[in-house]
């Protein structure tokens, strides 16, 4: 039982905290979002140089062999800075799927260039009807000679606009929500038959709707065994879920600090706002929510390598809990800022929007409450 970072982890934390503090002001972020890429290529290069892109991958794959704790440290800082670079989509989803399910050749082909910052991969999985059910896939891959033809529509693929490669989930057998029968394919993002419609998101990220129309892929593009990818998808998504919990905690802590700063500065009726007891008690509620969210971030992160049921119990408890805590902290931060909290000019609204959208990622509060209950109560 220990909640302290190792010395190495502390160095990582110092490094990413410094990056965020020095490079991620609101204006710098605005510029990135407005740019054609929607993120900072230079930042991404820096991430690669600092080794951050290599963290979750094994030495054998060309990574640094880091684990959930290192990812948590990064993501919490990314939350504090509202970092828009495609770390979740490329590193925690795309390349981690390759690390989890890929064969030697696939890993060798993909992970090193990803780690060098030269390749972006997104996971094209969610569909219009699937909501948060990971096994709900109607995109199909039918055999064609040695290969497959994939057809279907993938919804809100984060980073899908800039990705060089896509990992596409498609059904090779089974019914719409069967866990069996889902296969993954590594597809070039420019492949014939793929249409990408790119757009920004309300919280400053980029995503794409991706339509696949008879996209022909060879057998070597398959990641993992045919029809047998669900367990891998689920564990990778659980890892990403724990990661956005950490991001949420970074966002929440920042909102809490911004709000306290406002309460200590702004005067009304001849007093600092922070002297009004009703606002004091609500600030304490925010503080408690932040503290408990941090606890649940640890619980999720430190359970990722446990057996499936334990992992699900922890991750779903955390995502559900942080969804609620985040709603409280986000809404209160805006409210306690008054009119200024509503503006695009101040940071608080941007943090609020990101926190709101995190609740929609990988399943919201209710989805994870159900998943927790189903795991715990059977």
């Amino acid at each position: 039982m220990n909640f302290s970072l190792s010395d190495e982890q502390k160095l990582l934390k110092d490094s990413v905290d410094r990056f965020v503090a020095e490079r991620y002001g609101l204006d710098a972020r605005r510029t990135l979002i407005a740019s054609e890429d929607g993120y900072g290529r230079k930042n991404w290069k820096t991430f690669a140089e600092l080794g951050w892109l290599a963290i979750p991958f094994s030495d054998a794959s060309g990574g640094l062999g880091g684990g959930p704790i290192e990812v948590m440290v990064l993501m919490e800082a990314f939350g504090r800075g509202l970092v828009v670079e495609p770390f979740i989509s490329t590193i925690l989803m795309g390349a981690t799927l390759v690390e989890t399910l890929g064969d030697k050749e696939q890993k060798a082909a993909i992970i090193p260039p990803v780690v060098r910052g030269e390749k972006l991969i997104s996971f094209a999985h969610v569909e219009a009807q699937s909501r948060f059910t990971l096994s709900d896939v109607i995109t199909t891959a039918s055999t064609d000679g040695n290969g497959y033809r994939i057809s279907g529509h993938k919804a809100v693929v984060f980073g899908g606009d800039s990705a060089n490669q896509l990992i596409v989930s498609a059904r090779t057998s089974g019914n719409q929500r069967d866990e069996d029968g889902i296969s993954l394919f590594l597809v070039d993002a420019e492949a014939k038959g793929i249409t990408r419609r790119s757009y920004g998101t309300v919280d400053g990220l980029r995503a794409a709707e991706i339509t696949l129309s008879n996209v022909l892929v060879g057998p070597e593009t398959m990641l993992g065994k045919e029809g047998n990818s669900f367990a891998g998808i689920e564990s990778v998504v659980d890892g990403a879920t724990a990661a956005v919990c950490a991001e949420a905690v970074g966002v929440m802590d920042s909102l809490q600090e911004q709000t306290l700063e406002h309460l200590k500065t702004r005067e009304q009726f001849g007093l600092k706002l922070g002297k009004f007891q009703a606002l004091q008690h609500r600030s304490v509620d925010m503080f408690v929510a932040c503290q408990e969210a941090r606890t649940m971030m640890y619980v999720a992160t430190l359970s990722l390598n446990k057996p499936r049921a334990d992992r699900i119990r922890a991750v779903s408890a955390a995502k559900s809990h942080i969804g609620q805590a985040g709603r409280l902290v986000g809404q209160e931060a805006v409210q306690l800022h008054g009119g200024m909290g509503m503006t695009d000019e101040l940071a608080v609204g941007h943090y609020f929007k990101r926190l709101t959208m995190i609740d929609t990622l990988f399943g919201n509060t209710d989805h994870h409450l159900e998943r927790f209950a189903a795991t715990v109560h059977g």
């Binding site: 919804a155 757009y199 998101t201 929609t360």
Partner: protein, 398 residues
């Protein structure tokens, strides 16, 4: 005691429904259905249609061009406007400065301004809040200094809705800097086209432009534009607050939003069934429906009392609190309903004429920006904290 609308009220409701159905211009109707932004021209066109029917100022006395409706009829009219999604008339002229001029203005002011408000010859906005005075309105610093037959106004107003559309602004200004906070304030009407006025947009976090900051630099205002007495403006401001908040719970438009939520929850899938069948989400809808029922009939208790001639009291504070909480709750459920499709953000899609395919279902695009935008409702028009302070003092005696 009964919950029934009389036959006459029912007939009136149908008359309103028919009018709204037959008279909303198709350009406006199309935008409403597509949840696109209305322009100033849309609002003016709609204002003039209501004016043509004699319905633009239901709350005004008949002698000034009002309808003579009962409070319950006014409620029905508001509800039907909301239910149909028709635009509301901009409140700053009709609901706010109009009643103040009627009550405290001189005959010249009445004769000049009131008809122009009715006909929409002047678009109005409200100059109350300032950067340094949010909830603490009485600490305002914008000064009007007497210089012959004119005031010279310097200062700045913030959160000024529609200032970029307005011809006139009614302002609280400080005319006596030696007096205590609430004394020394005057109520001044200022032509927005005067030189020295600068309107700068404030973009809100949903990406929209509704509010502005207005700067006054040596703006000269004839003293004939003073309403009532100098340094008595606070009295008029308090009078106005009551009018501002009538219908603040927006029952009709909340019912419309709730219906929309149900439609979307029927269309959205969750684990192979309609989202509305999912017990948790169904409960959330039910709770919202019950809360809205409580809010509606709490408002009707006040309306019904007014119908019997009782003067409305502090129930507006309660309705402001609960009305804004409900708006926020329903808008929160709306984004929850659409899952991942809350994320895409295509600002152009909110402009008229945009006719690309929507990203995801056509009902999704506006929901997250609307949710962000509705966070304002517990802040503006007297934050909910201020409302609670008022109830605590005025009703509970604490």
């Amino acid at each position: 005691m009964n919950l029934e609308y009389s036959d006459a009220d029912q007939a009136f409701r149908e008359e309103v429904q028919n009018f709204l159905r037959d008279n909303t211009p198709s350009t406006i109707r199309t935008k409403i259905d597509a949840r696109q932004k209305l322009t100033k021209e849309d609002y003016m066109a709609w204002h003039k249609i209501l004016y043509g029917r004699g319905w633009v100022a239901p709350n005004w006395p008949v002698e000034f061009g009002g309808t003579g409706w009962t409070p319950l009829q006014c409620h029905i009219f508001d509800e039907e406007i909301g239910l149909s999604g028709s635009p509301r008339v901009l409140p700053f002229g009709v609901n706010m400065v109009g009643p103040v001029i009627m009550e405290f203005g001189n005959d010249t002011q009445k004769a000049h301004y009131l008809p122009r408000i009715l006909s929409c010859e002047d678009v109005w906005c409200q100059g109350y809040s300032e950067p340094g005075s949010g909830s603490d309105l009485a600490s305002l610093k914008t000064r009007a200094t007497r210089d012959g037959d004119e005031y010279v106004v310097n200062g700045s107003k913030i959160w000024t809705t529609s200032a970029h559309w307005a011809d006139m602004i009614f302002c609280l200004v400080r005319t006596d800097t030696n007096a205590k906070n609430q004394e020394g304030i005057s109520f001044l009407l200022i032509n927005m086209h005067e030189s020295g006025i600068d309107v700068r947009p404030i973009i809100t976090m949903d990406g929209g432009h509704e509010v502005n900051q207005v700067f006054f630099e040596d703006v000269r205002v004839p003293i004939t534009n003073l309403v009532g007495e100098e340094n008595k403006g606070w009295t008029y401001a308090k009078f106005l607050l009551k009018h501002e908040r009538a219908g603040i719970a927006a029952i009709g438009s909340q019912k419309r939003q709730l219906n929309r939520l149900k439609e979307i929850a029927r269309a959205e899938q969750s684990n192979g069934q309609a989202l509305i069948e999912e017990p948790r989400f169904r409960d959330k809808i039910s709770r919202a429906e019950i809360e809205l029922m409580a809010l509606e009939y709490t408002e009707l208790r006040a309306v019904s009392a007014a119908n019997q001639g009782r003067v409305p009291g502090t129930e507006v504070n309660l309705l402001k609190i609960r009305g804004s909480e409900m708006q926020q709750k329903i808008s929160e459920l709306l984004i929850e309903a659409i899952g991942y499709y809350a994320n895409p953000f295509v600002p152009d899609s909110f402009d008229a004429g945009w006719n690309e395919e929507p990203i995801g279902p056509d009902y999704a695009a506006a929901l997250a920006p609307e949710y962000f935008n509705w966070r304002k409702s517990s802040i503006y028009a007297g934050s909910n904290e201020i409302q609670k302070n008022i109830i605590s003092k005025m009703v509970l005696g604490l």
